[in-house]
Symmetry: C2
Subunit: 265 residues, 2 copies
């Protein structure tokens, strides 16, 4: 467990997730107010749990690694210092809509990238007591309560045998929705409501693909090492880099990925 | 806690849920095989966890209350004896698709009805350690790990302020889907992937409505007391009895229910 230059940050990422959970868990199912980030008719909820958790993480990074760059959903970008190439990318609550609806499938996402390439990723779900994480070249893991296990994607080479997942049909533009529906009709099983949790289920070998679009970098960077260190692959729908956001196609099996890039790309 | 003639069965329902969990939890995320109940192209999964959990529950009922009638998803109907009016209605795993996909939003549903009217309902989610239950006239409760709390729906009189939920757009026939989409577009927030868990979130005051169709009696009977004892209402889309299956509209606030019956009915 020490063959990656990023391994030194795993324990620190656990500290960050612990700090976020100390903010989110007391607020989960206990919120007084939900704000709307958007003017006009649309609703993009944000809570004091999102803001407080990100602040708690940023405070720890500022204290212990002040030269590191930060990009977070709620408080934006802080440049690195002295030519630092490491950047923390944070979504304090991925799936805020699930969070405010009481559902246990949201997660705190913490990524560390080097020159924009994600090297360490963590998805913490403190209500279920699950922490999924991975580090460059070292594999992917699930700590559930006090048990630690290694994660592997499962083989599934064909869409007709696959369980695929997305968050909501409303996340897609209309041409994208038609492509998702085509994939869903060809798949063995299509599921909704996953948010970040769907990617963890691909990494753990319980689902075969997640198909999403309209993502930001902080929605996906933690999940790329998680799926890839478990044996899978994450790209855009066209097969390109997904780390800066946009569309994402995460597959447990590279043959299924090839089939889906043809369908979606 | 002793003013209902059905209160005597609450402790027994806990025993039933414990017996089911002893079967489902070792199989969750650990399945070797998933069978298909349907011939042809469609996929309706069933596992040894569904069958084993229902058998474990039926064995306990047969032993302790041999005169009671039983209706279960996997093993069908057993008539009552000697004019018995009590019937247990069982869905050992509601949300088998979530179960086989590793998602924690399935549940074991246990209902007791008297002459077809649900009087006691329990939704057990053993992976998260949550057990939601309610008994006629006594209120609705959540036992989470070792803590017990009383459940109340929240006020939300208007669809434009409501969070509504369904399992999957694929559960609706096309005319029903158009009605769901109309409701979703008018709602503040529409969520997917709920299965039985969505009803529990209505009972607990984190969501405002669940809208589903194509249900069987065993999909809904446990959830009617849960939502109604918490202050809500469950009917068909037309406002009629939902206990025998078909469509279901569960609302935390009766004014919201009235608005949705007009939209859906």
């Amino acid at each position: 467990m020490t063959n990656s230059p990023y391994a030194a940050y795993i324990a620190f990422a656990h500290e960050l997730a612990d700090a976020a959970a100390a903010v989110t868990i007391p607020q989960f199912r206990n919120l007084k107010d939900v704000d709307n980030k958007l003017a006009g008719g649309d609703f993009d909820p944000v809570t004091i749990a999102d803001r407080g958790a990100e602040q708690a993480i940023r405070d720890l990074i500022d204290t212990h690694h002040p030269s590191h760059a930060i990009l977070g959903e709620e408080f934006g970008e802080k440049p690195g210092q002295d030519g630092e190439t490491l950047q923390w990318v944070l979504d304090p609550i991925d799936g805020t809509r699930q969070f405010i609806s009481g559902m246990p499938t949201w997660g705190t996402l913490i990524a560390l990238n080097d020159g924009g390439v994600p090297k360490l990723g963590m998805l913490d779900q403190p209500f279920t007591g699950e922490r999924f994480y991975a580090c460059d070249g070292m594999g992917a893991f699930l700590r559930h309560q006090n048990q630690l296990g290694k994660l592997s994607t499962r083989p599934c080479a064909r869409l007709s045998e696959a369980t695929i997942s997305t968050t909501s049909p409303e996340c897609f533009k209309s041409d994208e929705l038609a492509l998702w529906e085509k994939a869903a009709q060809s798949a063995k099983l299509a599921r909704y409501g996953g948010d970040c949790y769907g990617y963890a289920m691909v990494a753990a070998g319980h689902m075969d693909a997640v198909i999403e679009s309209g993502l930001s970098a902080y929605d996906i960077q933690a999940l790329i090492p998680l799926v890839e260190e478990a044996g899978g692959i994450v790209t855009s729908w066209q097969g390109g880099d997904a780390a800066q956001g946009g569309s994402a196609l995460a597959c447990g099996d590279k043959a299924l990925h090839a089939e889906l890039v043809v369908l979606l790309g």
